[in-house]
Every structure is written in structure tokens, then in C-alpha cells.
């Protein structure tokens, strides 16, 4: 079980959060990018064996979205949250 640091509520149990996926590229405007770039955005996510930036949502808490950096092998949280811009 992870102890996740919410920027507002501080350390809370993983069960209060909803996982929002790894942080990939920002959503491009499909009319402005090539088909390849659009497909890339829709299908590719970072899958490192090691640190990854990912979104979490404090759904059963203060409702905040934020980003942490977590190691996918040790599950250690390496960087505490930056708030979603």
C-alpha cells in the first residue's frame, strides 16, 4: 500500500486515491498535428522499469489532481507532488 502525499491533505492511504495514468505528451489539437503524432498521443505511454511521472486524484479526499514521481519496481515515491498546472 502506498502512502501518497496529497499537496493539500498530506500523507494519505492509497485507497483514497484514483490512479490517473502516466504523464505522457499533452493532448495536441488533432487538426494541427500529423496522423503519426496523433496516433502516438493516443497509444503511447512511458513504461519505464524505474521512475515514472504519474497523475493521481484524491477522489475520496480533497478532490485534487497532482503528479508524483514513483519507482515502478520499488514503489518508492521519489518526488512529491507538483500540482496540476
Amino acid at each position: 500500500m502506498l502512502l501518497i502525499h496529497c499537496p493539500f491533505c498530506k500523507n494519505r492511504n492509497e485507497t483514497e486515491f484514483v490512479y490517473g495514468g502516466p504523464v505522457g505528451a499533452n493532448r495536441p489539437d488533432p487538426n494541427l498535428v500529423s496522423d503519426e503524432e496523433w496516433v502516438d498521443y493516443l497509444t503511447m505511454v512511458p513504461n519505464p522499469m524505474g521512475p515514472v511521472y504519474e497523475r493521481w486524484w484524491h477522489a475520496r479526499g480533497c478532490d485534487k489532481w497532482f503528479i508524483i514521481c514513483r519507482d515502478t519496481v520499488t514503489h518508492e515515491i521519489l518526488e512529491n507532488p507538483s500540482e496540476e498546472p
Partner: protein, 416 residues
């Protein structure tokens, strides 16, 4: 290959079982093979076997980081079934189930295959409609699915005493899939390995691959391993959850995400359930092994993971849901729990294809991929041997993503 039979058992009993032949050799690693397969899991070993057996390609090495059959092939809950959703998937899984049913004879290794009905326990109408939609497509391809009443569900699963009218999520019916089955996972790994070895294939354990090697023209040239470089014109990546760790060494990007899935078993008890019970609305499934243990699985961890363990809250959620429907299981002791990391694509269907690196093949994205081992191995071997995809797996191409031609199977496995 030494034949396993009642006679050989009796003969070896007389000599105190000291003269059994080794199931496979451990030859020294050569510098060059025609085909190198990375990963001695179900898919790697089956591909090696069919390459030798069906296509006469025997100069093959299977390179395994740990020990043969120590990956997900030995960490899964052995449910074999063909109740999938899409026209491209169902015939593939129907083929795989039928190959499993004949595998004991084919490999002269007892798979302990036990054909048994799978019952989906359904708690809501959208789910029922979804399963009925699956049935219509499955009918076309000769896989059986049939709606049953709540009474019939309870007849088939007498231990199911919860989920009544007063409960929070009452059962509204079920679906029966008669083609399902369970078997022995070790036997699948060992049986394919032994039969492949007998045809000349080499198995190399403790031989981790560290990189893919490419020639100047970009073609695959071989692999780097902890025991030195090995040359091959064709390389197959069959490493389950580790696919991207290998393919990124050739600067190849694949639409895969690695997640941990878990399971646990109870103490052995007398026969209590002879079907595979699937309660996907509540998030668990189980069957009873020949030893009497209940083999229980739940949902995957929510976030990406390369760690094989079980989270306390995932475990508690699964047990809590199970006790809602099976309150008598409260008395069971649970013996072991474990996890395994698997990779999954955006559409939850596998990728079996030659990649953009000529000569480099991948078989990946195997979420519920135990059931797929025989057909996966056979069709991969076909592709590697003939340089063109087998009709049954043609749709599982890498390029389907480039065209956004999804074969959406999201929700037909434990990945939700």
C-alpha cells in the same frame, strides 16, 4: 526422448527412480543460431517447439533470464477459455483451447487438463447485455455461451449462498461457457521444453538478454547476453511484462504498459465447486484445483508496476467481495499469495508480429495469455518460419495501432 508411460513408470520404480533421463539438456551456449527466442515462458517455449516440429527449424536457442517456467506461465490461475468479444479474437482462442485439449498426447506429458464449465455470475443488466452480445459473435465461431437463470446459477454453484434479493447487489442471472478448462501450468512449460529439446532446440537458463544487436543496415543481428553476444538472423521477444525493457534497446517503441496482477490460494478442502466461477461485477474469480485448493484471482493493481507482490488493499477487496457471495469461505485459511507483471496494449489484445526492425519479432501484450500459449506458439512459429503472418493471428499486428484499428477486448479479461 524417453517415452513416459505406465510401463516406463513401472520400469523406473524397479530401479528406485534413479535412472530417469533429464527432461532437457543443458548444452554450452553457441555463438550463433538460426533463431533466438528471448524468454522461456509459455509463449517462448511453445514457439520454439512448433518451429522445430511444424517447420523443421531446429537450430533454435531459448534464452531465459531466470529459470525455465519461472515467469507468469507458473504464476497464473490456469483458466483456459474462448469467450472473447471480437471476430478476430474468438477463432484464435477456440483454436488454442482445442490444442490444449490434445496437448497431453501430442507432447507425451500429462497436462492434467480438466475441461470444466465456466459460470459468469451477473449482477446488472448492462453486463448481461454485454455478455449476450459476446454470445452472438461467439455463436458464429463455434464457441459456446448460454444465458442461465439465478436458480440454475445456484444449482451449478451450491456454495454461492450470498447475493440474494436482500443484498446490495443481487444476482440477476448467469452465463455458461462450456468450453473452458484448467490444467497444470508447470506441465505446459516443462512439456513444451522437453519436446522441443528432443527435436534439437536448446534451452539456456540464467542467460539474461541485455540488448538487441542490429546490423549496419538496421536488421536484427542477434542479442547481447550476460554470457556474451549471440548472433541470429531472427529474434523473437517473448518476455511478457518485460517487453519494453528489451525493445527499447533497439530504439523501438511499443504501445505497452506493465501492470501487476495477483492471485492467492486457500488450504485444500474437499470438492466444493466443479466449475470455474467468475464474478467480474464484484471483481474476483476462482476454481478448485485437483489438490483441493481454491485458486482465487482479483483485479490488477491500479498503477504501472514491475513488482510481483500483492497489495494488502487489493487482497482485502478481493476477499471482501468473495465473502459477500460465499460467506462460508470465511473459515478458509489462505496459504499463499503472489503477483506477476504483465504488459497490456491500448485495446487489450496482443501484438504478434515482425517489428519495424527486420528479423525482430514480438509476441507481447499477453494479459490473459496462458490460454493463448498453444495457438500463440503455433502462429508465431508460422510467422517466423514463413515470413508471413498466420491467418489466425494476422489481425494482432503491430501496425493496427498506426491505423487505430483496435481489436477492443478491454473488459473480457481481468484488466478493466
Amino acid at each position: 526422448m524417453q517415452n513416459y508411460s505406465l510401463l516406463s513408470l513401472a520400469r523406473n520404480a524397479l530401479t528406485g527412480h534413479k535412472n530417469w533421463q533429464k527432461a532437457w539438456r543443458s548444452p554450452p551456449l553457441k555463438e550463433k543460431y538460426e533463431v533466438v527466442i528471448i524468454g522461456a515462458g509459455g509463449h517462448g517455449l511453445a514457439t520454439a517447439y512448433y518451429l522445430a516440429k511444424e517447420f523443421g527449424i531446429t537450430d533454435v536457442a531459448v534464452l531465459e533470464r531466470g529459470w525455465l517456467g519461472g515467469g507468469n506461465v507458473a504464476r497464473n490461475t490456469v483458466t483456459v477459455r474462448s469467450n472473447y468479444l471480437r471476430d478476430q479474437s474468438i477463432p484464435f482462442y477456440v483454436k488454442s483451447v482445442s490444442l490444449y485439449e490434445g496437448l497431453t498426447k501430442k507432447l507425451n506429458f500429462n497436462m492434467m487438463h480438466s475441461k470444466r464449465t465456466m459460470v459468469d455470475v451477473v449482477h446488472n443488466y448492462p453486463k448481461m447485455r454485454d455478455l449476450r452480445r459476446r454470445q452472438l459473435t461467439m455463436d458464429i465461431y463455434n464457441s459456446t455461451y448460454e444465458k442461465i437463470s439465478v436458480d440454475r446459477v445456484r444449482q451449478l454453484i451450491p456454495a454461492l449462498t450470498g447475493g440474494g434479493a436482500g443484498s446490495r447487489l443481487p444476482i440477476i442471472g448467469g452465463m455458461v461457457h462450456k468450453d473452458a478448462g484448467v490444467n497444470r501450468h508447470d506441465a505446459v512449460a516443462w512439456g513444451y521444453a522437453r519436446a522441443a529439446d528432443a527435436l534439437g532446440v536448446e534451452m539456456h537458463q540464467k542467460t539474461a538478454v541485455t540488448s538487441l544487436l542490429r546490423a549496419n543496415n538496421g536488421d536484427i543481428q542477434g542479442v547481447g547476453t550476460v554470457k556474451g553476444n549471440v548472433e541470429a538472423k531472427k529474434v523473437v521477444v517473448a518476455v511478457s511484462g518485460h517487453t519494453t525493457t528489451i525493445t527499447e534497446t533497439a530504439s523501438l517503441r511499443l504501445p505497452l504498459r506493465t501492470m501487476n496482477l495477483t492471485a492467492f490460494v486457500s488450504e485444500p478442502i474437499k470438492p466444493i465447486v466443479d466449475v470455474i466461477v467468475n464474478c467480474s461485477d464484484l471483481g474476483f474469480y476462482f476454481s478448485q484445483s485437483d489438490k483441493g485448493e481454491l485458486v482465487i484471482g482479483g483485479a490488477p493493481d491500479s498503477a504501472q508496476s514491475f513488482r510481483r507482490d500483492i497489495k494488502q488493499h487489493v487482497f482485502e477487496d478481493t476477499v471482501g467481495a468473495m465473502l459477500e457471495l460465499f460467506p462460508s469461505f470465511k473459515n478458509l485459511k489462505l496459504l499463499r499469495q503472489w503477483g506477476g507483471h504483465l504488459d497490456i496494449t491500448p485495446d487489450a489484445s496482443p501484438i504478434m508480429d515482425e517489428t519495424d526492425v527486420p528479423g525482430l519479432f514480438v509476441t507481447a501484450g499477453w494479459w490473459g495469455g496462458y490460454k493463448a500459449i498453444p495457438a500463440g506458439g503455433l502462429t508465431m512459429a508460422y510467422h517466423v518460419a514463413t515470413n508471413s503472418p498466420h491467418p489466425l493471428m494476422k489481425a494482432f499486428s503491430y501496425n493496427r495501432f498506426k491505423n487505430l484499428d483496435y481489436i477492443l477486448e478491454t473488459g473480457t479479461t481481468t484488466a478493466r
